[in-house]
């Protein structure tokens, strides 16, 4: 039984792994955490940005709780190299940590588009707590903010920027917004909604340079039409933090290739979260899912396996939801599968849009857009997730759903989705409440 567990990365995956080790283990073990930052939740940074919560609220643990879990910590340190033959991790200060098994959960970092001026003053990324603090210090009521990139990250902070009283312009090189989350028709619904709510959107424009302009910033485009603003936020993508593993012998593709136990090719090295290329629930194929629920499930499965359980993971479901100016947009599974049998429903006057993608008589992907205040929108968001997650056979209710795309619940209930779900758990046992973790040490 591995006695010394090393957790590299204190994000969602790492925190869930440590907690699950303590929940599952029969005998006390040693846990060491290496985390570049004090653990916090990236998901809630937008709410700190607009000051609806205090900074304290973003942290997912404290020194006291880690001490209670008997975790040895190296906070503020990064892993620099992994020797998988000697089972030793070298940190960026040269110190070494020995382990019996280890979890790589080093997450991702923001990348900026390679344009001159991208590293200038008042040009920010929004990914880490430090970057969030940077944006907070720059944006004041009346500021003009230009966000470069109309992807998921931009959209998670859009409400916050507006709540701070700033004027917002979003610029995107692609012909449309949210290219990796919503289809063309859905993107059009959201764009229309945002324009009606005072957000300026420019698509199909390529930024060539960001200059200082007498205390302001000037964003230049290949097609002309400069924008002068106070703050630039670059939300131009993320990349996995894996460079430090290049000589480790751990096999990587786009991420670390893992089996159904989230083990890499090195049997005592696991990977979880953004850096793990694990099974996609719908396609069954390896995929990188840089989303919170995947990090959480990966972390728990790894924690259980590190504690000596034998937990196989069914795969992760790609799910995203974002609310902009009280319009909800969500997508699930294979929402962009060109081979699927597809049906679309729209109520343009209510900015409501649905797209369902079927493979045979199973729902394998879905898109839903609707006003946050519409009662059935919120019900249907969850039910669509349930239909895709279970892959329940819809039989004759597939035609029903195609004929009535705004009546999800009849097809959901009548096809026995809830009954299929009830016995399902990620770890083969009921989940424990946060704070209920028994410590065996």
């Amino acid at each position: 039984m591995p006695r010394r567990h090393l957790i590299i990365g204190g994000g969602t995956a790492g925190m869930n792994a440590m907690r699950t080790i303590r929940e599952e283990e029969r005998e006390p073990s040693e846990i060491t955490l290496v985390s570049a930052e004090k653990p916090y939740s990236r998901m809630v940074l937008p709410y700190y940005l607009d000051r609806s919560i205090a900074e304290q609220h973003v942290f997912t643990t404290s020194a006291a709780l880690l001490a209670q879990w008997k975790v040895k910590t190296h906070v503020g340190r990064r892993a620099a190299a992994l020797d998988t033959k000697a089972n030793v991790c070298t940190l960026d200060d040269g110190s070494k940590v020995e382990y019996d098994d280890c979890l790589i959960a080093t997450g991702s970092s923001a990348v900026r588009a390679p344009v001159p001026g991208a590293d200038g003053a008042n040009v920010h990324s929004f990914w880490t707590l430090d970057e969030c603090r940077g944006v907070i210090a720059s944006v004041t009521p009346g500021s003009h903010v230009v966000m470069i990139g109309a992807g998921f990250i931009s959209f998670t902070i859009l409400n916050s920027i507006l709540a701070l009283g700033a004027k917002l312009t979003i610029v995107e090189v692609a012909p449309r917004i949210l290219p990796r989350m919503i289809d063309d028709a859905g993107a059009e619904v959201i764009e229309e909604w945002l324009r009606a709510h005072g957000v300026t959107i420019r698509t199909n424009v390529k930024v060539t340079k960001i200059e200082d302009a007498r205390g302001k910033k000037r964003v230049k485009f290949a097609s002309g039409g400069d924008l002068v603003c106070d703050v630039v936020i670059m939300a131009t993508g993320i990349k996995t933090n894996l460079e430090w593993l290049k000589d480790s012998g751990v096999r990587m593709n786009r991420g670390i290739i893992v089996d159904d136990h989230l083990r890499s090719n090195v049997p005592n090295v696991y990977a979880a979260g953004d850096v793990a290329e694990g099974r996609d629930l719908v396609s069954g194929q390896p995929a990188l899912h840089a989303i919170e629920p995947t990090a959480q499930e990966h972390g728990r499965v790894v924690g259980a396996n590190m504690a000596g359980k034998d937990v196989a993971y069914k795969g992760s479901l790609i799910i995203n939801i974002v609310e902009v100016c009280h319009l909800d947009a969500a997508s699930f599974g294979a929402w962009d599968d060109a081979k699927a049998d597809t049906v679309v429903g729209a109520k343009r006057d209510r900015s409501a849009y649905r797209k369902y993608l079927f493979t045979g008589d199973r729902l394998t992907g879905a898109i839903i857009i609707g006003r946050s205040g519409d009662v059935w929108t919120t019900n249907d968001v969850g039910m669509l997730k349930g239909l895709v997650q279970t892959g329940v056979r819809l039989g004759r209710f597939k035609d029903y759903l195609k004929a009535h795309p705004f009546d999800v619940k009849t097809a959901y209930i009548a096809s026995g989705t809830a009954g299929t779900l009830l016995p399902e758990t990620v770890l083969g046992r009921p989940a424990k409440a946060p704070g209920e973790t028994p410590v065996a040490v």
Binding site: T12, S41, R42, M43, V44, Y47, S52, H57, T60, E292, P293, Q296, E297, R300, I319, I321, E323, H326, D328, S372, G373, V375, T378, N379, D380, V381, G382, M383, L384, K385, G386, T390, R396, D399, Y400, A403, H404, V408, K409, T410, A411, Y412, I413, A414, S415, G416, A418, G419, L421, L422, P423, E424, T425, V426, R429, P430, A431, A433, P434, G435
Partner: protein
């Protein structure tokens, strides 16, 4: 654990459960804020209430990034308002569609079994909703499958 046992055949669609629920949950007689929801079947000729099963996985609870969903004394998954930031991850993680978002408070809300004394059970005049020590199950499946079949048989699923 005591659960909400639903007998859909007894439901008359009176919506008293929704009214009582919203009153206890948010202090207003407002079915839109109820966490138990009565669904019509067969073109509004029969009805059934649908709510959280308090499932073993607790997809909402495990998904919450700030530990704002816990298990209360009644064994129900319960949202802690002072922890919830309103990120909606629980609403998309719940595969039953029974976690909601209140735009006025910017918090998630869901069935917490009223802490062990569910108002919907008291309000239901036909005992379609009971609070009993039984294993939970998919109470609505057969009822809904049969009623939806009538709809499919009469118009082929098309309006």
């Amino acid at each position: 654990m005591k659960v909400l046992k639903i007998t859909p055949e007894r439901c008359t669609g009176c919506l008293r459960c929704e009214i009582a629920c919203s009153y206890v949950q948010v202090g207003a007689f407002q079915p839109a804020k109820s966490v138990i929801r009565v669904s019509p079947f067969e073109g509004h000729t029969s009805y059934a209430p649908y709510t959280c099963t308090q499932c073993a996985e607790g997809w909402c609870m495990t998904a919450c990034p700030v530990g704002a969903i816990t298990i209360n004394a009644a064994g129900a998954k319960d949202v802690l308002d002072d922890r919830c930031v309103g990120c909606k991850l629980c609403t998309i993680a719940c595969p039953y569609g029974t976690v909601f978002y209140d735009a006025s408070t910017r918090k998630a809300f869901k069935c917490n079994l009223c802490g062990g004394d569910p108002a919907c059970v008291h309000a239901c005049p036909t005992a379609a909703i009971e609070y009993e020590e039984v294993a939970t199950r998919d109470w609505l499946h057969d009822f809904a499958a049969e009623r939806a079949s009538h709809v499919l048989a009469t118009n082929g699923g098309r309006r």
